[in-house]
Amino acid sequence: MTMTTDRENWSKQLFDQFREANVSLFGYVPDAGNAALIDMVDAHNETRSVLLSTEEEGVAICAGADLVGERAVVCMQSSGVGNCPNFLGLVKGGRFPMFMMISMRGDHGEMNPWQYPMGQAVEPVLEAMGILIYRVERPEELEPVTRAALDAAFTAGQGVALILSQKFLGAKAF
Protein backbone atom coordinates (compact mmCIF):
# COMPACT_ATOMS: atom_id res chain seq x y z
CA MET A 1 0.00 0.00 0.00
CA THR A 2 1.45 3.37 -0.93
CA MET A 3 1.61 6.30 1.47
CA THR A 4 -0.98 8.25 -0.53
CA THR A 5 -3.52 5.46 -0.50
CA ASP A 6 -3.00 5.07 3.20
CA ARG A 7 -3.71 8.75 3.77
CA GLU A 8 -6.83 8.58 1.66
CA ASN A 9 -8.06 5.62 3.68
CA TRP A 10 -7.73 7.23 7.07
CA SER A 11 -8.97 10.56 5.76
CA LYS A 12 -12.08 8.78 4.51
CA GLN A 13 -12.52 7.20 7.94
CA LEU A 14 -12.31 10.66 9.51
CA PHE A 15 -14.64 12.22 6.94
CA ASP A 16 -17.25 9.53 7.53
CA GLN A 17 -17.09 10.12 11.27
CA PHE A 18 -17.44 13.87 10.81
CA ARG A 19 -20.45 13.30 8.59
CA GLU A 20 -22.00 10.92 11.08
CA ALA A 21 -21.64 13.68 13.69
CA ASN A 22 -23.38 16.14 11.30
CA VAL A 23 -20.37 18.39 10.80
CA SER A 24 -21.12 20.51 7.75
CA LEU A 25 -18.44 23.22 7.72
CA PHE A 26 -14.67 22.63 7.69
CA GLY A 27 -12.37 25.62 8.19
CA TYR A 28 -8.78 24.88 7.25
CA VAL A 29 -5.35 26.20 6.64
CA PRO A 30 -3.86 23.84 4.04
CA ASP A 31 -1.55 21.11 5.28
CA ALA A 32 -0.48 17.75 3.91
CA GLY A 33 -2.26 16.19 6.90
CA ASN A 34 -5.68 17.61 5.99
CA ALA A 35 -5.39 17.74 2.16
CA ALA A 36 -7.22 14.48 1.42
CA LEU A 37 -9.93 15.26 3.98
CA ILE A 38 -10.60 18.67 2.47
CA ASP A 39 -10.78 17.13 -1.02
CA MET A 40 -13.55 14.86 0.31
CA VAL A 41 -15.32 17.81 1.94
CA ASP A 42 -15.27 19.66 -1.39
CA ALA A 43 -16.51 16.63 -3.31
CA HIS A 44 -19.54 16.10 -1.04
CA ASN A 45 -22.67 18.14 -1.62
CA GLU A 46 -23.57 18.54 2.06
CA THR A 47 -20.19 19.68 3.34
CA ARG A 48 -18.27 22.86 2.67
CA SER A 49 -14.67 23.88 3.24
CA VAL A 50 -13.59 27.38 4.22
CA LEU A 51 -10.04 28.33 3.27
CA LEU A 52 -8.75 30.47 6.14
CA SER A 53 -6.14 33.23 6.08
CA THR A 54 -5.07 32.25 9.60
CA GLU A 55 -6.09 29.47 11.94
CA GLU A 56 -7.87 31.50 14.62
CA GLU A 57 -10.46 32.54 12.05
CA GLY A 58 -11.53 28.90 12.08
CA VAL A 59 -12.07 28.97 15.84
CA ALA A 60 -14.37 31.97 15.38
CA ILE A 61 -16.20 30.37 12.45
CA CYS A 62 -16.91 27.29 14.59
CA ALA A 63 -18.39 29.59 17.23
CA GLY A 64 -20.52 31.32 14.57
CA ALA A 65 -21.85 28.01 13.27
CA ASP A 66 -22.78 26.96 16.80
CA LEU A 67 -24.75 30.18 17.32
CA VAL A 68 -27.25 28.96 14.72
CA GLY A 69 -27.18 25.29 15.73
CA GLU A 70 -24.77 23.98 13.10
CA ARG A 71 -21.51 22.09 13.56
CA ALA A 72 -18.13 23.15 12.23
CA VAL A 73 -14.55 22.00 12.79
CA VAL A 74 -11.20 23.65 12.14
CA CYS A 75 -8.25 21.80 10.62
CA MET A 76 -4.68 23.05 10.87
CA GLN A 77 -1.04 22.14 11.11
CA SER A 78 0.46 22.27 14.61
CA SER A 79 2.29 25.52 13.81
CA GLY A 80 -1.10 27.25 13.60
CA VAL A 81 -2.09 26.36 17.14
CA GLY A 82 0.01 29.28 18.33
CA ASN A 83 -2.31 31.66 16.47
CA CYS A 84 -5.41 30.46 18.32
CA PRO A 85 -5.25 30.97 22.10
CA ASN A 86 -6.92 34.37 22.37
CA PHE A 87 -9.92 33.18 20.35
CA LEU A 88 -10.03 29.93 22.33
CA GLY A 89 -11.14 32.15 25.19
CA LEU A 90 -14.56 31.84 23.52
CA VAL A 91 -14.63 28.20 24.60
CA LYS A 92 -13.88 28.83 28.25
CA GLY A 93 -15.83 32.08 28.50
CA GLY A 94 -18.80 31.19 26.31
CA ARG A 95 -18.94 27.40 26.54
CA PHE A 96 -18.84 27.08 22.78
CA PRO A 97 -18.18 23.51 21.63
CA MET A 98 -14.93 23.42 19.65
CA PHE A 99 -13.30 20.72 17.54
CA MET A 100 -9.77 21.30 16.27
CA MET A 101 -8.03 18.74 14.05
CA ILE A 102 -4.31 19.24 14.30
CA SER A 103 -1.77 17.52 12.07
CA MET A 104 1.58 17.53 13.86
CA ARG A 105 4.99 18.83 12.88
CA GLY A 106 7.91 19.27 15.25
CA ASP A 107 7.08 15.89 16.68
CA HIS A 108 8.34 12.30 16.23
CA GLY A 109 10.94 12.18 13.43
CA GLU A 110 10.85 15.89 12.50
CA MET A 111 13.87 17.07 10.48
CA ASN A 112 13.04 20.79 10.19
CA PRO A 113 14.34 22.63 13.27
CA TRP A 114 11.86 25.50 12.71
CA GLN A 115 8.99 23.15 13.50
CA TYR A 116 10.16 22.10 16.96
CA PRO A 117 9.40 25.16 19.12
CA MET A 118 5.70 25.39 18.24
CA GLY A 119 5.25 21.66 17.73
CA GLN A 120 6.46 20.92 21.23
CA ALA A 121 4.28 23.72 22.68
CA VAL A 122 1.02 22.51 21.12
CA GLU A 123 -0.30 20.50 24.03
CA PRO A 124 0.69 22.92 26.84
CA VAL A 125 -0.82 25.84 24.89
CA LEU A 126 -4.10 24.01 24.30
CA GLU A 127 -4.26 22.78 27.88
CA ALA A 128 -3.69 26.31 29.14
CA MET A 129 -6.85 27.33 27.27
CA GLY A 130 -8.89 24.41 28.60
CA ILE A 131 -8.88 22.37 25.38
CA LEU A 132 -8.95 18.59 25.88
CA ILE A 133 -6.31 16.57 24.06
CA TYR A 134 -7.19 13.47 22.00
CA ARG A 135 -3.95 12.14 20.53
CA VAL A 136 -3.65 9.51 17.80
CA GLU A 137 -0.38 7.55 17.61
CA ARG A 138 -1.39 4.30 15.90
CA PRO A 139 -3.81 3.57 13.04
CA GLU A 140 -6.14 1.48 15.19
CA GLU A 141 -6.57 4.44 17.55
CA LEU A 142 -8.00 6.77 14.92
CA GLU A 143 -11.61 5.60 14.98
CA PRO A 144 -12.15 5.34 18.78
CA VAL A 145 -10.17 8.49 19.62
CA THR A 146 -12.02 10.51 16.97
CA ARG A 147 -15.34 9.19 18.24
CA ALA A 148 -14.47 10.18 21.81
CA ALA A 149 -13.38 13.65 20.69
CA LEU A 150 -16.56 14.18 18.62
CA ASP A 151 -18.74 13.11 21.54
CA ALA A 152 -16.87 15.39 23.94
CA ALA A 153 -17.25 18.38 21.60
CA PHE A 154 -20.71 18.03 20.14
CA THR A 155 -22.57 16.00 22.76
CA ALA A 156 -20.88 17.28 25.90
CA GLY A 157 -20.03 20.79 24.64
CA GLN A 158 -16.30 20.69 25.35
CA GLY A 159 -13.36 22.20 23.47
CA VAL A 160 -11.24 19.39 22.01
CA ALA A 161 -8.18 18.88 19.84
CA LEU A 162 -7.77 15.72 17.79
CA ILE A 163 -4.02 15.53 17.43
CA LEU A 164 -2.68 13.42 14.58
CA SER A 165 0.87 12.73 15.70
CA GLN A 166 3.82 12.46 13.35
CA LYS A 167 4.13 8.83 14.37
CA PHE A 168 0.67 8.36 12.88
CA LEU A 169 1.09 10.68 9.88
CA GLY A 170 4.68 9.76 9.02
CA ALA A 171 7.39 12.40 9.21
CA LYS A 172 8.00 14.53 6.12
CA ALA A 173 11.17 13.44 4.32
CA PHE A 174 13.66 16.16 3.32
Partner: protein, 197 residues
Protein backbone atom coordinates in the same frame (compact mmCIF):
# COMPACT_ATOMS: atom_id res chain seq x y z
CA UNK B 1 -8.00 61.48 13.03
CA UNK B 2 -10.47 60.96 10.26
CA UNK B 3 -11.90 64.06 8.78
CA UNK B 4 -15.44 63.17 9.59
CA UNK B 5 -18.50 65.07 10.73
CA UNK B 6 -20.46 61.96 11.78
CA UNK B 7 -21.30 61.44 15.46
CA UNK B 8 -21.29 57.68 15.99
CA UNK B 9 -24.20 57.90 18.41
CA UNK B 10 -26.53 59.04 15.60
CA UNK B 11 -25.36 56.38 13.22
CA UNK B 12 -27.20 53.13 13.67
CA UNK B 13 -30.74 54.51 13.66
CA UNK B 14 -30.00 55.75 10.16
CA UNK B 15 -28.02 52.77 8.88
CA UNK B 16 -30.14 49.99 10.37
CA UNK B 17 -33.66 51.34 10.89
CA UNK B 18 -34.88 47.78 11.42
CA UNK B 19 -32.15 45.94 13.35
CA UNK B 20 -34.44 42.94 13.87
CA UNK B 21 -33.99 41.95 10.24
CA UNK B 22 -30.40 40.93 10.97
CA UNK B 23 -28.49 38.51 13.11
CA UNK B 24 -25.89 40.93 14.46
CA UNK B 25 -22.37 40.13 15.66
CA UNK B 26 -20.30 43.00 17.00
CA UNK B 27 -16.67 43.54 17.78
CA UNK B 28 -15.72 44.67 21.25
CA UNK B 29 -15.64 48.10 22.92
CA UNK B 30 -17.30 51.04 21.15
CA UNK B 31 -19.02 49.08 18.38
CA UNK B 32 -20.43 46.67 20.95
CA UNK B 33 -21.73 49.49 23.12
CA UNK B 34 -23.27 51.37 20.19
CA UNK B 35 -25.16 48.27 19.02
CA UNK B 36 -26.12 47.16 22.52
CA UNK B 37 -27.52 50.58 23.38
CA UNK B 38 -29.39 50.86 20.07
CA UNK B 39 -30.97 47.40 20.27
CA UNK B 40 -31.07 46.95 24.08
CA UNK B 41 -29.30 43.66 23.33
CA UNK B 42 -32.23 41.86 21.77
CA UNK B 43 -31.72 38.14 21.26
CA UNK B 44 -30.57 38.57 17.64
CA UNK B 45 -27.46 40.39 18.90
CA UNK B 46 -24.17 38.99 20.21
CA UNK B 47 -21.59 41.52 21.35
CA UNK B 48 -17.95 40.64 22.04
CA UNK B 49 -16.04 41.83 25.08
CA UNK B 50 -12.76 40.17 24.09
CA UNK B 51 -11.37 37.90 21.35
CA UNK B 52 -10.37 41.05 19.48
CA UNK B 53 -10.31 40.31 15.74
CA UNK B 54 -12.97 37.58 15.82
CA UNK B 55 -16.09 39.51 14.81
CA UNK B 56 -15.91 39.12 11.02
CA UNK B 57 -15.10 35.41 11.29
CA UNK B 58 -17.89 34.70 13.78
CA UNK B 59 -20.24 36.55 11.43
CA UNK B 60 -18.97 34.48 8.51
CA UNK B 61 -19.63 31.28 10.45
CA UNK B 62 -23.18 32.45 11.15
CA UNK B 63 -23.76 33.57 7.55
CA UNK B 64 -22.55 30.28 6.05
CA UNK B 65 -24.55 28.23 8.55
CA UNK B 66 -27.79 30.22 8.28
CA UNK B 67 -27.99 31.13 4.59
CA UNK B 68 -31.60 32.30 4.84
CA UNK B 69 -30.77 34.97 7.42
CA UNK B 70 -29.27 38.41 6.90
CA UNK B 71 -26.13 38.70 9.01
CA UNK B 72 -24.46 41.99 9.99
CA UNK B 73 -21.06 42.39 11.60
CA UNK B 74 -20.59 45.78 13.27
CA UNK B 75 -17.06 46.43 14.41
CA UNK B 76 -14.33 49.02 14.78
CA UNK B 77 -11.21 49.79 12.77
CA UNK B 78 -8.81 48.35 15.35
CA UNK B 79 -10.78 45.12 15.75
CA UNK B 80 -11.03 44.67 12.00
CA UNK B 81 -7.34 45.29 11.39
CA UNK B 82 -6.36 42.75 14.00
CA UNK B 83 -7.56 39.98 11.68
CA UNK B 84 -7.96 41.76 8.40
CA UNK B 85 -7.13 38.60 6.43
CA UNK B 86 -10.64 37.46 7.36
CA UNK B 87 -11.88 39.78 4.58
CA UNK B 88 -10.12 37.54 2.04
CA UNK B 89 -11.79 34.50 3.60
CA UNK B 90 -15.16 36.23 3.27
CA UNK B 91 -14.47 37.10 -0.36
CA UNK B 92 -13.48 33.51 -1.16
CA UNK B 93 -16.78 32.23 0.25
CA UNK B 94 -18.96 35.04 -1.18
CA UNK B 95 -21.85 34.72 1.31
CA UNK B 96 -24.73 36.70 -0.21
CA UNK B 97 -26.20 37.35 3.26
CA UNK B 98 -23.27 39.06 4.99
CA UNK B 99 -22.83 42.77 5.63
CA UNK B 100 -19.82 44.23 7.43
CA UNK B 101 -20.04 47.71 8.93
CA UNK B 102 -16.87 49.25 10.31
CA UNK B 103 -17.26 52.24 12.63
CA UNK B 104 -13.89 53.82 11.95
CA UNK B 105 -12.91 56.40 14.56
CA UNK B 106 -9.22 56.22 13.68
CA UNK B 107 -8.21 55.42 17.23
CA UNK B 108 -8.30 52.89 20.04
CA UNK B 109 -11.12 54.54 21.98
CA UNK B 110 -11.38 51.93 24.70
CA UNK B 111 -7.78 52.26 25.82
CA UNK B 112 -7.47 56.03 25.79
CA UNK B 113 -7.85 57.14 22.19
CA UNK B 114 -4.40 56.24 20.95
CA UNK B 115 -4.17 56.81 17.17
CA UNK B 116 -4.76 53.85 14.85
CA UNK B 117 -3.54 53.18 11.31
CA UNK B 118 -6.67 54.61 9.70
CA UNK B 119 -5.84 58.03 11.16
CA UNK B 120 -2.66 57.88 9.08
CA UNK B 121 -2.61 56.20 5.68
CA UNK B 122 -4.76 53.08 5.88
CA UNK B 123 -8.05 52.86 3.97
CA UNK B 124 -10.19 49.93 5.10
CA UNK B 125 -12.64 50.02 2.19
CA UNK B 126 -9.69 49.77 -0.20
CA UNK B 127 -8.42 46.80 1.77
CA UNK B 128 -11.85 45.16 1.58
CA UNK B 129 -11.89 45.92 -2.13
CA UNK B 130 -8.46 44.37 -2.50
CA UNK B 131 -9.58 41.32 -0.55
CA UNK B 132 -12.23 40.83 -3.22
CA UNK B 133 -15.49 41.95 -1.63
CA UNK B 134 -17.87 42.88 -4.43
CA UNK B 135 -19.29 46.01 -2.77
CA UNK B 136 -17.43 48.55 -0.66
CA UNK B 137 -18.24 52.11 0.38
CA UNK B 138 -16.77 54.76 2.70
CA UNK B 139 -18.81 57.64 4.09
CA UNK B 140 -17.70 60.49 6.34
CA UNK B 141 -20.55 63.03 6.40
CA UNK B 142 -24.10 62.84 7.79
CA UNK B 143 -25.56 63.71 4.41
CA UNK B 144 -24.13 60.47 3.02
CA UNK B 145 -25.86 58.20 5.51
CA UNK B 146 -29.08 57.79 3.53
CA UNK B 147 -27.00 56.53 0.62
CA UNK B 148 -25.11 54.23 2.99
CA UNK B 149 -28.39 52.76 4.27
CA UNK B 150 -29.41 52.11 0.68
CA UNK B 151 -26.03 50.48 0.03
CA UNK B 152 -26.67 48.11 2.95
CA UNK B 153 -29.88 46.81 1.44
CA UNK B 154 -29.11 46.99 -2.26
CA UNK B 155 -25.41 46.51 -3.02
CA UNK B 156 -24.39 42.94 -3.89
CA UNK B 157 -23.21 41.07 -0.79
CA UNK B 158 -20.89 40.39 0.85
CA UNK B 159 -20.70 44.15 1.31
CA UNK B 160 -18.40 46.34 3.36
CA UNK B 161 -19.31 49.79 4.66
CA UNK B 162 -16.72 51.96 6.36
CA UNK B 163 -18.23 54.84 8.33
CA UNK B 164 -15.59 57.31 9.39
CA UNK B 165 -16.76 58.97 12.56
CA UNK B 166 -15.56 61.65 14.94
CA UNK B 167 -13.52 60.28 17.79
CA UNK B 168 -16.17 61.03 20.42
CA UNK B 169 -17.42 58.47 22.92
CA UNK B 170 -19.68 55.56 21.97
CA UNK B 171 -23.11 55.15 23.53
CA UNK B 172 -23.14 54.73 27.30
CA UNK B 173 -24.53 51.29 28.01
CA UNK B 174 -23.82 48.54 30.50
CA UNK B 175 -23.72 45.30 28.54
CA UNK B 176 -24.24 41.72 29.63
CA UNK B 177 -20.68 40.38 30.11
CA UNK B 178 -21.68 36.75 30.50
CA UNK B 179 -20.76 35.26 27.11
CA UNK B 180 -22.10 31.82 27.99
CA UNK B 181 -25.51 33.28 28.82
CA UNK B 182 -25.43 35.50 25.70
CA UNK B 183 -24.53 32.50 23.52
CA UNK B 184 -27.42 30.45 24.84
CA UNK B 185 -29.89 33.30 24.48
CA UNK B 186 -28.90 34.03 20.87
CA UNK B 187 -28.80 30.36 19.90
CA UNK B 188 -32.07 29.35 21.52
CA UNK B 189 -33.93 32.35 20.13
CA UNK B 190 -32.66 31.57 16.63
CA UNK B 191 -33.59 27.89 16.87
CA UNK B 192 -37.04 28.75 18.27
CA UNK B 193 -37.69 31.19 15.42
CA UNK B 194 -36.50 28.64 12.90
CA UNK B 195 -38.77 25.97 14.32
CA UNK B 196 -41.72 28.35 14.34
CA UNK B 197 -40.95 29.00 10.66
Amino acid sequence: MPDSTIDRRDLLTQLMPDPDRYLIITGLAGAARDVAAYTSETDNVLTLGGAMGAAVSIGLGVALSAPDEQVAVVTGDGELLMNVGALATVASMMPDNLTIICIDNGCHGETGGQPGHTSRRTDLALMADGAGLPSTLTVDAPAQLAGAAKFLTEAPAPRFLCVRVQDGPPAAYKRDWDLAACRLRFRQAYLDRKQAG
